[in-house]
């Protein structure tokens, strides 16, 4: 059966809670480093690293590595596509929430 175009469709890559948290944090700043993302999302180093790799491969985030005071620093920013898809995903979630509330009434 074909899907109706007005039905909310969730982006599986973004919907994973860890990745959604990363993208949501990045959507409210210009860029952030690895430590900041770890702090805000509460993810472990390994998990965060793995999620960032997937998001970078999908073109949703841009990762740059640099040295600050001779220490390595990984900086992450949303790409325009990542920003758009994150906003769209949250819109879809809001729609789903709205639909479930309507069906409850």
């Amino acid at each position: 059966m074909p899907e109706r175009s007005d039905e909310p469709i969730l982006d599986r890559l973004i919907h994973e809670p860890g990745r959604l948290a990363i993208l949501t944090v990045l959507s409210s700043v210009s860029d952030a480093d690895f430590v900041f993302l770890q702090r805000t999302t509460g993810l472990t180093k390994g998990n965060l690293s793995s999620h960032l790799t997937k998001l970078e491969d999908a073109g949703l985030v841009e990762i740059s590595k640099r040295f600050i005071n001779r220490r390595p620093n990984t900086n992450v920013a949303l790409t325009p596509v990542g920003r758009q898809r994150t906003a769209h995903h949250w819109d879809q979630l809001e729609r789903l929430k709205g639909l479930s509330q309507t069906s409850d009434e």
């Binding site: 409210s28 210009s30 952030a32 480093d33 430590v35 702090r39 805000t40 472990t44 690293s49 900086n75």
Partner: protein, 200 residues
Amino acid sequence: MERKKLESAAANYSYLRGLFSIPLGSLCIVAALGNWGLGPLRHAWIFIAAALVLGAACLPINRYYNEHYGRVTPSTRQQSRAFVATIIAVAVMVGGSFLLRSRASWSLDLPVNPIAASFGLLMLAYYAIVVGLRTHHVVIWGGLLVAGLLPVWSGADPSNIGLVLAGVAAMTNGILDHRLLVRTFEPSKDLGVENSDAGT
């Protein structure tokens, strides 16, 4: 997942690094002591040296935040709001002080403490615009505003007492902002200074 909580935590981080307020508050107090001519602070160069030392104290504070909480660049929108809030703050501080009590002919010359009142008002406005008011902001800066507006400041120029009050308020507010930041950013299990970065 709480979207708003994540977004506001990220957006407000730069403005809740409250330990920076300790040198800033100390500078206000040192300025007041210098104006009173207390001890060695009566020499202008001592004040300049103290200002440099307090400025230098910001470097380890900055390093502490970067290593333990990370680096972030606020969004352009957030930076614009902070810029506008700073412009408003300076205008309120200067204009308010002159209007409430000064030697200017257009001054209302009220028996208030212009420094305390205008600093309290500007900080309330700043936090309301940039971060969103929390209880401690309202209590501390609202308290400073009310204290400054009480009609008990007749007599000698109360600006120096206002500076001391502003300094103490800044330091107290900074400590509470820092406490809020620590609570907001719970440490993740494997986060340590030695783990301050990770390749992806």
